[in-house]
Symmetry: C2
Subunit: 351 residues, 2 copies
Amino acid sequence: DLSFDPKEHQHLRYNPLRDSWVLVSAHRMKRPWAGQVEKPPEEHIPRYDPRNPLCPGNTRASGEVNPSYDSTFVFENDFPALQSDAPDPGSDQHPLFQSKAARGVCKVMCFHPWSDVTLPLMKKEEIIKVIDKWAEILEELGVTYPWVQIFENKGAMMGCSNPHPHCQVWASSFLPNEPAVSDRCQRAYYQKNGEPLLVQYAKQEAEKKERVVVENSDWLVVVPYWATWPYQTLLLPRRHILRINELTVEERDSLAAIMKQLLTKYDNLFEVSFPYSMGWHGAPTGPHLKEDNSHWQLHAHYYPPLLRSATVKKFMVGYEMLAQEQRDLTPEQAAEKLRNLPEEHYKTREN
Amino acid sequence: DLSFDPKEHQHLRYNPLRDSWVLVSAHRMKRPWAGQVEKPPEEHIPRYDPRNPLCPGNTRASGEVNPSYDSTFVFENDFPALQSDAPDPGSDQHPLFQSKAARGVCKVMCFHPWSDVTLPLMKKEEIIKVIDKWAEILEELGVTYPWVQIFENKGAMMGCSNPHPHCQVWASSFLPNEPAVSDRCQRAYYQKNGEPLLVQYAKQEAEKKERVVVENSDWLVVVPYWATWPYQTLLLPRRHILRINELTVEERDSLAAIMKQLLTKYDNLFEVSFPYSMGWHGAPTGPHLKEDNSHWQLHAHYYPPLLRSATVKKFMVGYEMLAQEQRDLTPEQAAEKLRNLPEEHYKTREN
Ligand SMILES: O=P(O)(O)O[C@H]1O[C@H](CO)[C@@H](O)[C@H](O)[C@H]1O
Ligand SMILES: O=P(O)(O)O[C@H]1O[C@H](CO)[C@@H](O)[C@H](O)[C@H]1O
């Protein structure tokens, strides 16, 4: 009888935040790849482009003129998926044709006045400004809206249509699917185990070490045991924190430091500006501010698509869409690769 | 007060098969697109390529030689994600580090001996052969495995690494997430309403007409009320059928006909070989063959990524991955577009 080796033997792993399973088939990395090759990201982005609506001083689609900002800059999305005044589709519906009102607001936040930088290339002090602004927006929109989704699509491969460093914030009158499932899972775990799921998880991973990518006294980055994307990571505080606006000055400083470390490693992996979608999840807001949300723990998810090189990504397609997500290397292998990468960015090394 | 118009006003729609919601923001189609443009699919694929492992008579990675097949041809995937003999990771695990054994088999099925055809360009009689083979494989692997996932990734954009017309079959020792959720939803609906969810749904849609793309006496194709992908469709029988091997000779004939119609419309939409992932869902097999599965209804899902043109797809990224899926045109608009397209393929029209 063979003894089990996760690198050689396919198996399922449980995602306790989504109550779902992922198929890990690490032996699949051996197959040759003859499929689609992506365009590598554009390398020479001008620092200032007079036609780019995100640059300081330029005019946007709405006719509004951007200020000559020198740090972060927030404005309302000119083509928002959520508007604050949509009418209600009404009730009294057949169970197979149910709709609901959706209201909200969509904002865009530029990280920096220059188009040719990204978070890992920014100074720690500049990243702190981004974190401060995230906290401010969450607090502001969280007064009204039950969910404030802060997210960044980085790179054209992740649907980002503007190279200027920026993220988005979509606040909604409803709790979206993903946080709703996560809320349910964290609540059930807390009720059963008396400690928040992700607080316990961070402790365990800090001891086990094998999935840790980088850590400091306040934060921990791991490739989660249940990661679906090849180099997916989970950024976790060690302390129990419900929302991003509760971070202390010291925690914002150490968060900026660990983000810079993680994102530098990402860029160094294939020596390319690493595409990803990332976002923050914390306790719900609006009417939920008055509830007990002790089961929640603040965290950020990073979902990068690249698998084999700067131009070959993992396709989450047929089997993944219709049956179950599947990954081609173990989370431990991915963590080890990222952990061993240098913390100096390949672009600054070249100079 | 404004009255509600689904084309103008964002709203949520409920997916009763997944117990989740989708955000419909049709007014977003107005925004200009400056993001990634895909490579259009290769146009000149040779009928026979001596280096293509899927062509008749060629040698595959395993060293095996394909027969000179003249219809469909099935073989075991040379780089399978599921193997029949993986050892068990063992039990007695921490709730945050749970794994499970996964066993199975992965097959590849060529649709046709020629590399330069696709399903819509094949004759109805040839498509019937594909359907017969699907039924045969389901029956064969369904003896052992609880789930037999038949799926097709079409086009490089959907991770397909070989232009030869083919699909895959992954059979597993476990019920994967997607069918597990669908099983739960269909069961609950059946218990509450006394009729299978999708049987009732097909009747309703056949009456309402606004989301019907094409129909015949046995089958119905709709853009479902809860579609997430821009031109997603659901292929449904009118009769209550648990699994694909239960189809009568007449139903296989009418299925081949409606598949040809649908896929021709897809290709005609942007005059390109339309990329998609598709797959069949029916009642589970293996040990479930002995259970009452009356709540199930056979169906196929088509998930095509294109949104605006042959080269601009919908990105399911940041907000979709972290919060909730979002679409940019209404299912009714998509159905109307597809419905009004000609049923003669643009390639045969040109000749
Ligand atoms: O086995 P293939 O066709 O090479 O692989 C394709 O389909 C699989 C099943 O959906 C995916 O896991 C792969 O990412 C994709 O490239
Ligand atoms: O608003 P953007 O950045 O143009 O759009 C991008 O992010 C959105 C939110 O994840 C997605 O819905 C779009 O498909 C994507 O292209």
